[in-house]
């Protein structure tokens, strides 16, 4: 059980592209902003990972996800009191700027729980797309019910990555408490839906193009 290499022991400017790629993501590197994810988004991605790869990380051929990259983007919510009586209305924004150029969007879905059991009744939820202009809101219907009660709504048509005006997705998470009111149900806030970007990373390897200007792109 060797002690883990302290990050500082990595070469200052790692030559190995994988080291470079990973070092850019290391905690404490510039841009590392928020606490690592936890709760339902992490559980969802761990389940997805276990279905896609074995314990040594080898992709299961039988279970191809149809792409080599899936990014989970968590919502930024605007504070305030989302409850009004039995209604829950939460505005959510997903910031998408800065997607690597080599990653081409294949599909985008928002994953949420359409129904939640409460002590006294159920919480029924839906998603509304808040268009940038004055266009009417669009109620998103789930296109797939993957597992464990999650629903996926396709939002691909509303996203054009790289087009600066569309690097934000604004939604409204709308829920209503059904069944007898009472008890402490009112305080149960549903977890925020999260965005999944199914991307095709066109750089099969890891060498960032800037590092090898004269090398034929793999």
């Amino acid at each position: 059980n060797q002690s883990p290499l302290p990050l500082g022991s990595l070469p200052a400017v790692p030559t190995l592209p994988l080291l470079q790629a990973l070092q850019m993501r290391a905690p404490g590197s510039p841009g590392w902003r928020v606490e690592p994810p936890s709760g339902q988004p992490l559980r969802y991605m761990l389940n997805l990972y276990r279905r896609a790869a074995d314990r040594e990380g080898r992709p299961r051929r039988s279970r191809s996800l149809g792409t080599n990259t899936i990014r989970l983007v968590q919502a930024s919510s605007h504070g305030g009191q989302p409850w009004a009586g039995r209604w829950y209305l939460q505005a959510l924004t997903y910031y998408l700027e800065g997607q690597p150029e080599a990653e081409h969007l294949l599909r985008a879905t928002v994953v949420y729980l359409p129904s939640l059991s409460l002590a006294h009744g159920r919480l029924l939820c839906a998603l509304e797309l808040v268009a940038a202009s004055e266009a009417p809101r669009v109620l998103l219907s789930p296109t797939a019910h993957p597992r464990h009660g999650w629903a996926e709504a396709d939002v691909t048509p509303y996203l054009v990555l790289g087009n600066s005006s569309m690097e934000i997705l604004a939604l409204r998470h709308v829920c209503v408490r059904a069944g007898r009111a009472g008890g402490h149900d009112a305080l149960v806030a549903p977890s925020h839906p999260f965005l999944l970007l199914y991307l095709n990373d066109t750089q099969a390897g890891l060498a960032p193009p800037a590092a090898e200007p004269h090398r034929h792109r793999r």
């Binding site: 883990p4 993501r25 928020v34 994810p37 991605m45 761990l46 990380g57």
Partner: protein
């Protein structure tokens, strides 16, 4: 020069059995914690990249899939100029691994990285 080849053939036949130091694939299970990367790599906990090690035999067997250049280089080393090194024992085929990572902005990334596990070796 049949005399040399005949001599070499005896070496070759002896080598046929494959000396234990011949070029071959070796396991090396490693954890991302050992690499100091476990802060942001959530899965897998370990993987085995394997590595290739050993001497390339004088006459390269077909199962090494040697390029013709390596066969010629091996002859040159053997018969013409020993200062020309024998071919090197390097990976031949690779396979990818999938990694689950935490991103600097708090996102989670599932990514398949190509060429992360050496599956066989060759002499080049």
């Amino acid at each position: 020069d049949t005399g040399t080849l005949a001599h070499d053939l005896s070496n070759y036949l002896r080598e046929q059995g494959g000396e234990k130091s011949d070029c071959s694939l070796h396991p090396f299970p490693v954890s991302f914690a050992q690499l100091g990367w476990d802060h942001w790599i959530i899965a897998p906990h370990r993987y085995d990249p394997h590595y290739c090690k050993g001497t390339c035999p004088h006459l390269l067997r077909y199962d090494y899939h040697p390029p013709n250049h390596a066969v010629v280089q091996s002859f040159v080393h053997q018969l013409v100029d020993a200062s020309v090194p024998r071919p090197s024992c390097v990976p031949y085929r690779y396979s990818p691994i999938s990694v689950l990572m935490i991103e600097p902005n708090g996102g989670i990334l599932y990514k398949e990285y190509e060429n992360m596990i050496a599956e066989s070796c060759t002499c080049r």
